[in-house]
């Protein structure tokens, strides 16, 4: 291949060189070589535009980020890499095919935070950091999904679009708790308690037939083998043959509970408890609401029955599970089986959510930029992309929008600016988005045009999310972004002879809810953190709006 594919530690890694907190911002990929990368911070591939990427041994699909851009005489593009959800995913084998050549490489993710799982109720595998991260990404998802929430009558006056709903819920939410979101576990808690109680309290038993020595008066059934045995016993009469203890071999029936359907029932209860705990943990602030209380009661029910079934010696099922007749046809177990499949699919979804949490954060950051700009007093709305939220993530994305996210007219310091907020991660770019900006790996680009002079500028926005208990310091990220911007400007200047007016904004996640700012004037980029907690998000967005205004102001001094 003409240009060497790279793995980047930060989205702008292709344009930066200085290591970031000792971390190489980019590493070249060699055929047959193994590359170790710090798994805490996510990774991005930079590769030739015409190449195909395959994750060997995985069902993952490639997740392109943005359109192609010119790079060292070739066209390159960026592609997101997943975070490890399971231990086995710490090693990722990648094949990159381009121009008839294949590059096979192995990426070793070091120190990733894996998705916490319950080995049994109360036995969580995963440290506190992972649990906090899990709660955090569920919060982020909940914030995004609020674009399709129904509001109460008073609040819904004047609310016509998803953007309006976000604006109301993020910026004008009342302090008192609303209702917790409806998830699968809530649906189960509503529908299934009676069924669970009925089935788990009286699990299906099969009678196993065994041949045992038993007292004569206890024998009810004999088979040929018992009679053969009897014949062989010494003695002439049955009494003699019974021996001093007067015992003969007969058929005993033993109850057996360790059947496939009961193992599935037990695993179903385990998963229900795990889901319930995640739900309750993620919705602590709705502690007194009906849904959370309902799920708590359901949790207690499932936990209790899980223990009972464990005590009865029912083992865990071994995947993959092929349902038997009882699971498919029995009136009680059929319901349990369907609910179990729903939980397994949900686990799959949560794994996917964990893997692509960086893109989740980027999704949120894009929406936040639009809502923040819309909050500015000096803005006039021109257009908004429709905002729909998928029920399932699509290539790591939950929001469904047009490349032009929003358009405003902004009055700033006696200037009138035309502001276009563009999604820079879609593979179909808006005409206003310069291709070269894609090499910076932006989440969004705020394209600005001075109404009077026609002068143009761009504000690159990055949504940066690290899958680590301790995220990278914001100031270091901003410094690195600054270097990348300067290098990109120089590169483009050399290529086209034009001077680019461009600045950046890094929006970093903060699972621990710590607020940070990086607004040194010397840098081309600013940085902020955004808290997604419903109680804090308003303030966070107001700060974001101010920072955006300031950043825009710097582009048009």
């Amino acid at each position: 291949m003409k240009s060497i594919p790279q793995v980047l530690a930060v989205p702008w890694g292709l344009c930066a060189q200085t290591p970031l907190v000792g971390l190489e911002v980019r590493r070249p990929l060699q055929d047959g070589a193994e590359v170790e990368i710090d798994g805490r911070h996510g990774a991005v591939l930079a590769l030739p535009a015409a190449s195909e990427v395959r994750f060997v041994g995985r069902r993952w699909r490639e997740q392109p980020e943005g359109t192609a851009f010119p790079w060292i005489g070739d066209d390159f593009r960026l592609s997101a890499l997943p975070t490890a959800a399971l231990v086995s995913e710490q090693t990722i084998r990648v094949e990159i095919r381009a121009n008839g050549q294949t590059l096979s490489t192995q990426l070793q993710l070091n120190h990733p935070l894996l998705r916490p799982r319950d080995n049994g109720p109360g036995q969580t595998i995963g440290d506190e950091g992972a649990l906090t991260m899990q709660a955090f990404i569920l919060q982020v998802l909940a914030r995004i999904r609020e674009a399709q929430n129904q509001l109460d009558a008073e609040a819904s006056d004047g609310v016509e679009t998803g953007w309006d709903r976000l604006r109301i819920l993020w910026l004008k939410r009342r302090a008192q708790a609303q209702e917790a979101p409806r998830e699968l576990i809530v649906d189960h808690a509503e529908r299934l308690p009676t069924r669970v109680e009925d089935t788990a309290a009286h699990p299906r038993r099969v009678l196993k037939r065994t041949r045992e020595l038993m007292a004569i008066d206890r024998i009810q059934e004999l088979d040929n083998a018992c009679i053969d045995w009897l014949i062989r016993q010494p003695g002439r009469s049955v009494a003699e043959k019974a021996g001093p203890r007067q015992r003969l071999r007969g058929i005993a029936r033993e109850e057996n509970l360790d059947t496939l359907e009961n193992r599935v029932l037990k695993d179903f209860l385990r998963l229900s408890v795990e889901e319930g705990r995640i739900y309750v943990r993620a919705n602590q602030r709705f502690g007194n609401t009906d849904r959370v209380r309902l799920v708590n009661r359901y949790l207690v029910l499932c936990r209790g029955h899980y223990r009972e079934l464990s005590d009865l010696g029912i083992r865990n099922p071994v995947p993959p599970i092929t349902p038997n007749y009882v699971l498919q046809q029995d009136a009680r177990y059929r319901v349990i089986w369907r609910a179990y499949l729903e939980l397994l699919r949900n686990q799959q979804r949560e794994d996917d959510l964990w893997r692509w949490q960086r893109r989740l954060w980027a999704d949120f950051a894009r929406l936040a930029v639009v809502v923040a700009l819309d909050h500015l007093l000096s803005r006039q709305r021109v257009a908004f992309s429709p905002l729909h939220i998928h029920n399932e993530q699509v290539n790591g994305r939950w929001s469904d929008t047009y490349p032009l996210l929003a358009m405003f007219v902004l009055k700033l310091s006696q200037r009138c600016l035309i502001v276009e907020v563009l999604d820079a991660t879609l593979d179909i770019a808006h005409h206003a988005l310069a291709p070269w900006l894609s090499m910076l790996g932006c989440t969004a680009v705020v394209q600005l045009t001075d109404y009077d002079s026609g002068r143009r500028a761009s504000l690159c926005v990055w949504g940066v999310h690290g899958v680590a208990a301790e995220p990278l310091p914001l100031t270091d990220l901003v410094q690195s972004a600054d270097e990348a911007l300067r290098n990109a400007i120089t590169h483009e200047n050399l290529r086209t002879g034009q001077t680019m007016n461009i600045r950046g904004l890094v929006i970093r996640s903060t699972p621990a809810q710590a607020r940070e700012f990086a607004t040194q004037p010397a840098y081309l980029a600013y940085g902020i953190t955004l808290d997604v907690d419903p109680d804090n998000i308003r303030e966070a967005l107001e700060e974001c709006a101010l920072i955006l205004e300031e950043s825009i102001g710097r582009l048009f001094p």
């Binding site: 006039q380 257009a383 908004f384 429709p386 469904d400 047009y402 032009l404 045009t449 109404y451 009077d452």
Partner: protein, 821 residues
């Protein structure tokens, strides 16, 4: 929680209101955006989206205004109903989609079809809707705010509703009644058949184009990108908007909006108001209540040099100035009278109360009464109907569907439609079924529903059979034309009756000997002439033998039909021997040659005529030389007119038949003018041609047909008058009257001899013919067969004929002197 929801759907300021809820306006202007990456968008999401907006995403998606979609409901756009339905869906919340009432304009263009399409579109979008006339809704909404005393005082008064709509200003006249319901007086509008319902358009080009002109924009799409162009029309503050501008440094241009209209729109509205005040002055003066409402009521206009004022206020000032009405109510858009009135209607309907009174357009359907086709009322125009309730009626007339009937054809005439409609319904009746027609309709809810109900349930299947309006064909026929078409649906003429040949004629008579004798006799022989004399006659043994198998077998064969040696198509009968065929062919050839030779000899007229008569026994296989001779026979004054008797047998192609008919007609005209008898040979010849030749009826042109009809009547009249019912002249005339009916096949003369023909002369002929035939039939001197034939002919004239054969036996004697030679 009440779910009585009303919708004012007008395309500019759509409003939704519940009974106790504040009216809620949809984003203005309402648009629907389709074909976007996110699917179809409605409401504010559609309005704010970049799709279909110049400079943003102009080529992505299709942005259509609801105003255009409402107009498209009257056309053929197949997507419009669905998109309107989606817009309605976005206006309403979940509960209210289960039942709402939508106001529709009460103007002729928004007809039943448009209302049907609107209901269909709403149903597709899971919105269960009923429709209500807009002026009725306005009065109901206003009435809901009145005190009981005030309502009672309005009983019997006349109201005029002036609706300021995007299409124009609509003027509607209604009456008002007070009806006690649930112990309280309620206002009940009455929509009268003769009440005024008219819309005065602002201009021919429409409001959108006027607005574009006022805003000086060339790209009409800019009107629908935001509320920028509509704020002034809605009485809102002006707001700027951003448009692409290739001439500006930034590529954009911020354009300030208008808060007041003072250009094209203001002038057009002002002119419309003046026109209404002029033309409808008497209506306005007669009205005790004038209600001004509409989505444009708050439009801020500045007509000429006046100050800016709202449109409703300005209209109010003009009315006060010129009409001084007793009760003038101006409804601002915030009140949502129409939407609220729809909610009131919904509530009353849920309780089974009277909402308003209405009428339905008269509907008629064709029936057969007393043997005559006519139109009967399915919906009587004098019936007053309760609004929202089902009007139903069953036609007193009943119909019979005969066994194996494949389809039923109905014609419907609707009062408010110019054209009639034709409906054809496929059926599968195994037995004869008696049916009745049942109609139901709800005012304002679309087309009437006409159901075919069998007397015996399930006789036509388990699914109700409805006359489907959408499948009906519009036909531009008048009532009379339809009745005429219906009257000619039956059998109006008999089948042809070719002359048939029979092998027994050859086997049981001496024809073959006669032919062989002729074949062996040279033309120069002395006995040639005596040999050919009278050979054409029908006497047994002669070449022209006419007999029946019954006679030839002395009663062993019961067949009494008269056969000849050669059929009228010139063919020998089946089953004759090869000897006969060869002798016949030789005979034919010799006859032709002999005729040709004889024709050259001067003074051999007698022989020529004999040979010509002999040639006629061949019918169409007559030798060509003799056919050529007969062509000269049918030219007036050329050859012996007696021979025309045989011309009808020999001549068969179109040109020859036309010559024959022209000759017959001219002979009649001559006889008529000279007051002489017309030879029955003429009548016979024409009758033969029409009876033997399938296409003769069509070849006859209308003028000739009429002439022949006159000729036939001329003879028939004379014979009936003399009561000569046994004479050949009479029979020949009757025979011609039967086969002359075949001229009805001519596409331009389908009303030939029709009693109800618009041509007076034609209908007189029919009448006279019927009378003459009736007189003959009643005479008591006819044999049974002839009487039966005459009765059949009468039925054919009345299009009630059957497929039975009309066979009237006539003689061939050409020695009979008719007196016109």
């Amino acid at each position: 929680m009440n779910t009585f929801i009303g919708v004012d759907l007008n395309g500019v300021l759509d409003t939704v209101a519940g009974l106790d809820q504040k009216p809620r306006h949809a984003p203005a202007p309402p648009v629907v955006v389709t074909d976007t990456p996110q699917g179809t968008l409605t409401g504010m999401e559609a309005l704010l989206s970049p799709f279909g907006r110049p400079g943003l995403a102009a080529n992505v998606g299709q942005r259509t205004s609801v105003l255009e979609l409402l107009g498209a409901l009257t056309g053929n756009d197949s997507e419009a109903p669905h998109q309107v339905g989606q817009h309605l869906h976005s206006l309403l919340s979940g509960n209210s989609r289960g039942g709402c009432v939508i106001a529709v304009p009460d103007i002729p263009t928004f007809n039943e079809r448009a209302r049907d399409r609107l209901l269909g579109g709403a149903s597709q979008a899971d919105v269960n809707a009923r429709l209500l006339w807009r002026p009725v809704a306005a009065l109901l909404g206003w009435g809901a705010m009145l005190s009981d005393a005030k309502i009672q005082a309005l009983h019997g008064k006349r109201a005029c509703v002036l609706q300021l709509l995007p299409e124009g200003i609509a003027v509607s006249e209604l009456d008002v009644e007070c009806v006690e319901q649930d112990g309280r007086p309620t206002l009940v509008p009455v929509r009268r058949r003769d009440g005024l319902r008219k819309i005065h358009a602002y201009s021919k080009t429409g409001l959108s184009n006027l607005l574009a002109a006022e805003m000086s924009i060339t790209d009409v799409r800019q009107l629908w990108g935001s509320a920028w162009a509509w704020n002034a029309l809605l009485g809102r503050d002006a707001k700027p908007d951003l448009f692409p501008d290739s001439h500006s440094p930034s590529g954009w241009c911020i354009v300030e909006g208008f808060s007041t209209l003072q250009g094209e729109v203001a002038r057009a509205i002002s002119a419309t108001i003046d026109k209404i005040l002029n033309e409808k002055r008497s209506v306005l003066q007669n009205a005790s209540i004038i209600l001004i409402e509409g989505p444009l009521a708050d439009a801020s206009i500045k007509p000429r040099l006046r100050n800016a004022v709202s449109l409703s206020k300005w209209l109010q000032l003009k009315l006060v100035d010129q009409i001084a009405p007793a009760n003038l109510i101006v409804a601002p858009t915030t009140e949502g009278f129409v939407a609220r009135g729809c909610a009131v209607c919904a509530e009353r309907q849920s309780k089974g109360h009277i909402t308003y009174y209405d009428f339905l357009p008269m509907l008629e359907i064709n029936v057969l009464r007393g043997g005559e086709y006519n139109f009967a009322l399915l919906i009587d125009k004098n019936d007053r109907v309760e609004g929202g309730k089902i009007y139903s009626n069953t036609l007193a007339d009943q119909f019979f569907i005969a066994q194996e009937t494949k389809s039923l054809v109905f014609y419907l005439l609707k009062e408010d439609e110019k054209n009639a409609r034709r409906s054809e319904t496929a059926l599968s009746a195994e037995n004869e079924v008696k049916i009745s027609l049942h109609v139901t309709q709800i005012p304002a809810q679309g087309h009437a529903r006409v159901e075919i109900r069998p007397d015996v349930r399930g006789a036509l299947g388990n699914t109700p059979i409805l006359l489907d309006w959408a499948a009906m064909t519009e036909i531009a026929w008048s009532r009379e034309q339809i009745l005429f078409e219906l009257s000619i649906q039956g059998i109006g003429y008999p089948d042809t009756l070719p002359q048939r040949a029979h092998h027994l004629i050859w086997e049981r008579t001496a024809i073959l000997d006669t032919i062989n004798q002729f074949n062996a006799c040279p033309i120069r022989e002395r006995q040639y002439d005596s040999m050919i004399r009278q050979q054409h006659s029908g006497t047994l043994g002669r070449i022209g033998t006419r007999s029946s198998p019954s006679i030839l077998t002395k009663g062993i064969d019961q067949d009494q039909h008269i056969y000849t040696a050669v059929d009228s198509d010139g063919h020998l009968p089946e089953g004759v021997s090869q000897e006969i065929i060869e002798a016949f062919d030789t005979f034919r050839e010799k006859l032709g040659n002999d005729f040709t030779v004889t024709n050259k000899i001067v003074g051999s007229h007698r022989r020529i005529e004999q040979l010509a008569r002999l040639g006629a026994t061949f019918y169409t296989s007559c030798p060509n030389s003799i056919i050529a001779y007969y062509r000269r026979v049918v030219v007036p004054g050329v050859i012996s007119p007696k021979l025309v008797l045989y011309a009808g047998r020999v001549l068969s192609n179109e040109q020859d038949l036309v010559r024959l008919f022209r000759y017959c007609a001219s002979r009649y005209h001559d006889a008529y003018q000279e007051g002489k008898n017309l030879s029955w040979y003429i009548i016979r010849a024409a009758g033969d041609a029409l009876a033997y030749r399938e296409h003769a009826g069509e070849i006859l042109d209308p003028e000739l047909g009429d002439s022949l009809a006159d000729a036939m009547l001329y003879v028939l009249r004379s014979e009936v008058g003399k009561r000569n019912f046994r004479q050949n002249r009479f029979k020949v005339a009757v025979r011609l009257s039967a086969f002359l009916l075949r001229h009805r096949m001519h596409p331009k003369h389908r009303d030939f001899l029709h009693l109800k023909s618009p041509n007076k002369r034609n209908s007189q002929r029919a009448k006279e013919l019927l009378e003459l035939l009736q007189e003959a039939s009643n005479s008591g001197v006819l044999n049974a067969e002839l009487k039966d034939n005459i009765d059949q002919i009468r039925e054919h004239i009345l299009y009630r004929g059957t497929n039975s054969i009309i066979d009237i036996t006539v003689e061939d004697d050409d020695t009979d002197n008719d007196g016109d030679e």
